[in-house]
Every structure is written in structure tokens, then in C-alpha cells.
Symmetry: C2
Subunit: 226 residues, 2 copies
DNA sequence: AGTCTATAGATTGTTGACAATATGATCACT
DNA sequence: AGTGATCATATTGTCAACAATCTATAGACT
């Protein structure tokens, strides 16, 4: 094993993961004030590691803390969610371009194989958006790491995705346009396979822009509420 | 005062600031392993707040921590520094575009006034790059906040700038092209004043790209070593 | 002689108690 | 009666001792 899994899993890491998934899954409601002792009893933790985890989460912008007053999950407005997508658009565009230049042939083959399995999933689980959401996450994850840009991957995977996923869960349905998204993924992968960075960037930006517009119209329709 | 300063400044915040500036200024050498107790005695802190600060710094990617083994300042290779600039290029391009669309007239006037004072500073302090570096930081800071994109500003100001500044200090000289940089700033400000987002984005990307190339050639020359 | 194992030391992770601060309710005053 | 200040409570921030883990040194074995 070259890259071993985390050898020692510290309590603080545990706390961090627990809280993060709780926030993403919506178990911790945005805006609601939550006490430290309550969190401790809820996740079987002690306050030390918990506070360390809270610090990390705050630094990542998932929750906001006021000294001596308490901590609450950050609540994102519709506008801010749209801003998040605009950031993703530019950053993932860059990631796609660099991925086209730097992914190994094996990685690209894997990427395309992944898309095949996504297609099967979509066909099997008609209308069940969950697989699509996971698949989408998987696809973007691979490209982010494929960019070989450590900091970029860190920002994308560590910061942005969790915020986006947080709202994916809430407006659970996900896009509802699985076939179209898959098709867009295919084209991006194709551009990467042809080592056409410029095209990959363009297609990725358009892909995320389309997702943003899709959500935006749903919000305006009233189909979706944040 | 609408946005009051931090009412209560906790020890953890103090620790965070101390460590961050120490890292940026180079008092804490990258790669070197540092013990918690040593840091405590050095900054007159106790281990509790220190550890919380360490967690935040780690989450921001300024240092890396291995459980039970210790913590060391992250060391960035020349390639990674270039990657950082590529990220800045796209993100600040976006910031400039949104700033052109959203900054108030007052803010734009302030921005241009800032450039005037920068010009005077450069003339007065011939060759002293410090003012230029600070001025540059100031300019980009204003545009980041002017974008009205909370998350974008947070990522730029909270994550990227500190890493870049860290190396600015080390290769202290800064660009050594103050007049040219100022001229580029002027053009960007002008584009923003004319509410031409597309142009502002283009000019900003070119500006950062030029800065990147400047450093890159210096590294190849051997003028600069990381 | 080289390599592997085991132990000692030091360092980090964790815990529970203590101090400082914000919130909410009570009471006096206008 | 409504508003302001004061105080009690509960919660957060901080501290110092304890437990768990890693690293380095020394020894035994192949």
C-alpha cells in the first residue's frame, strides 16, 4: 500500500466527520443555535475534540461561531447558492483543463468506465435521483483530483462540495435531468481523452452553468424552496 | 458602526493570528517539525487554544499534522506556487467581473483613490518593494470584497492570499515591476468604473498571469529560490 | 555486520474541573 | 404600564493533569 488509510483516527477527526455529515444530511438545521454539551451527548464526544472540530468547521465556512454565545449552522440564501455555482464554474473549468493535460491514460479509462456504470444505474433506478447525485459527485471528484493541482482539489473537495451537497440533500430531488447530465459528462470525458484542455474547460463551465440555471428556474417556479 | 469589530477576542483567535503571521513572515520554517509545548512557550499560550488554532490552520492548508507525531509548516514547491497563481487567475478574474457589476460608485472612487496613493508611495519609496506589495494586496483585497460574493471573498482572502503572501515575504523583493503592475491595476479599475465586467475579468487574468510568469522566469534564472 | 525487536522517553490526544462571559428574568424607576 | 439596569444562571473559554501513541535507542539474533 503506497497511500495507506489514516493510521490513527483521532476523536477530533471522528467529531469532525460526524458533524460534517450531520450538517450535510440536514440533521443539524441551519440557523438553529446548538449547544456544545448537547452536541457532546448526541455524538458521544467530549468537549475537547468537539471544540477542535467546531474550529475546523468554522474555518471551512460550514458553521458560524460567536464567542460565548454559541454556534449555529450557516444558512445559505438562494443568491449565495447561485454564487457557489459561479465559483464552481470557474474552478472546475480550470480543473477540467488541467485534468485533460495531466490525467494518465489509465485514469481516463477509469473515468469513462465510471460513466458506463452511471448509465446502467440510471437505467435501472428509473427516477431515483440518488444514484445520479452520487454519480455526479464521483465524476467531479475524479476530475478534481485528476487536475494534479493539490490546492485546487483541496478547495473543491474540502470546501465547495460540502456546501453544495448540503443543499443537494435538502432539495433532494437533485437535478432531475440525469440523462442530459450524463451526456454532458460524456462529452467532457471525451474532450479529456482527446487531451483537448480548452474544450474540456468550456464544456465543464457550460455543464455547471446549466445545473445552476436548472436550480434557479426551479426556485423561481416555487418547485424548490431554500 | 454597522459592522462592529470582534467584540471578544478569544485566546484561540490570538493563537491563530500569531501562528498565521509567524508562518507568513517565515518565522516558522516550512518542513521543520515543531512541538506544541515549544509553540506555547514561544507565544505565551496554553495548549488548549493552541490546538484549536492548529486545527484551523491545518484545515486552511497552512500546516500539516500527523496524529501523535507532530505538526509542521507546509512546504510548497515551485510548481505548487505556480498552481496557486493559476487558481488565483480564474478566481480573481471572476471577482473582477462581479466587482464591475456590483461595486458601488463610492467603492470604485475609493479604489481609484487608493491607486493614486500607491503611485505616490512608489515614487517616494524608490525601489522599496514593501509598499508595492502592501498596495497590491490592498487592491486585490478591495476587489475580492467588492465582488459581493461572500464565499469567493472568503476563499481568496482566507485561503489563497496567505499562501501567496507567505512566499512574497520569502522572495521578499516582490515583483520588482511596480510601475507596470500599477498601470495594470489602473486599467482594471477603469474597466470596473465603466462597468465592463468582461474586460475587467480579462485584464485581471492577464495581470495575474504576468505576475506568475515574472516569478517563473526569476526561478528559472536562479534569481529566486524556493 | 546487518536487521529486527523491544523498551524507554518524549510528545500528542483526551479528560474533567475552573474561570469568564452572554443571556434572560426580576425589580426598580420614569 | 413601559423601559432601563441589575443579578442569577447557564454556557462557553481556559487550564492543568492523565492516558495513549509514536520515535529513537539499545540489544539480541541471523
Amino acid at each position: 500500500m503506497s497511500e495507506a488509510a489514516i493510521q490513527t483516527y483521532t476523536r477530533a477527526d471522528e467529531a469532525f466527520d460526524c458533524l460534517q455529515t450531520a450538517i450535510v444530511k440536514g440533521d443539524l438545521v441551519p440557523g438553529e443555535k446548538i449547544g456544545e454539551v448537547e452536541l457532546c451527548s448526541r455524538f458521544n464526544l467530549t468537549r475537547g475534540p468537539l471544540r477542535e472540530a467546531l474550529g475546523r468547521l468554522e474555518s471551512r465556512g460550514l458553521l458560524v461561531r460567536r464567542p460565548h454565545a454559541g454556534v449555529k449552522v450557516v444558512s445559505v440564501s438562494a443568491e449565495e447558492l447561485m454564487e457557489l455555482y459561479r465559483i464552481r464554474e470557474t474552478m472546475e473549468g480550470l480543473a477540467a483543463r488541467q485534468a485533460a493535460e495531466r490525467m494518465t491514460d489509465d485514469e481516463i479509462a477509469d473515468l469513462q468506465a465510471t460513466l458506463d456504470s452511471h448509465e446502467k444505474m440510471i437505467e435501472q433506478a428509473q427516477g431515483q435521483a440518488y444514484y445520479q447525485a452520487e454519480g455526479d459527485y464521483d465524476f467531479h471528484h475524479r476530475i478534481a483530483t485528476g487536475s494534479r493541482n493539490t490546492k485546487l482539489a483541496q478547495m473543491l473537495l474540502g470546501d465547495l462540495y460540502y456546501m453544495v451537497r448540503m443543499y443537494r440533500y435538502r432539495l433532494s430531488t437533485s437535478s432531475g435531468r440525469p440523462h442530459m447530465a450524463l451526456e454532458e459528462h460524456r462529452r467532457i470525458a471525451e474532450a479529456i481523452a482527446q487531451r483537448d484542455g480548452e474544450l474540456a474547460e468550456f464544456l465543464m463551465k457550460r455543464h455547471i452553468n446549466a445545473a445552476r440555471k436548472n436550480i434557479e428556474t426551479k426556485i423561481h417556479n416555487g418547485t424548490l424552496s431554500i
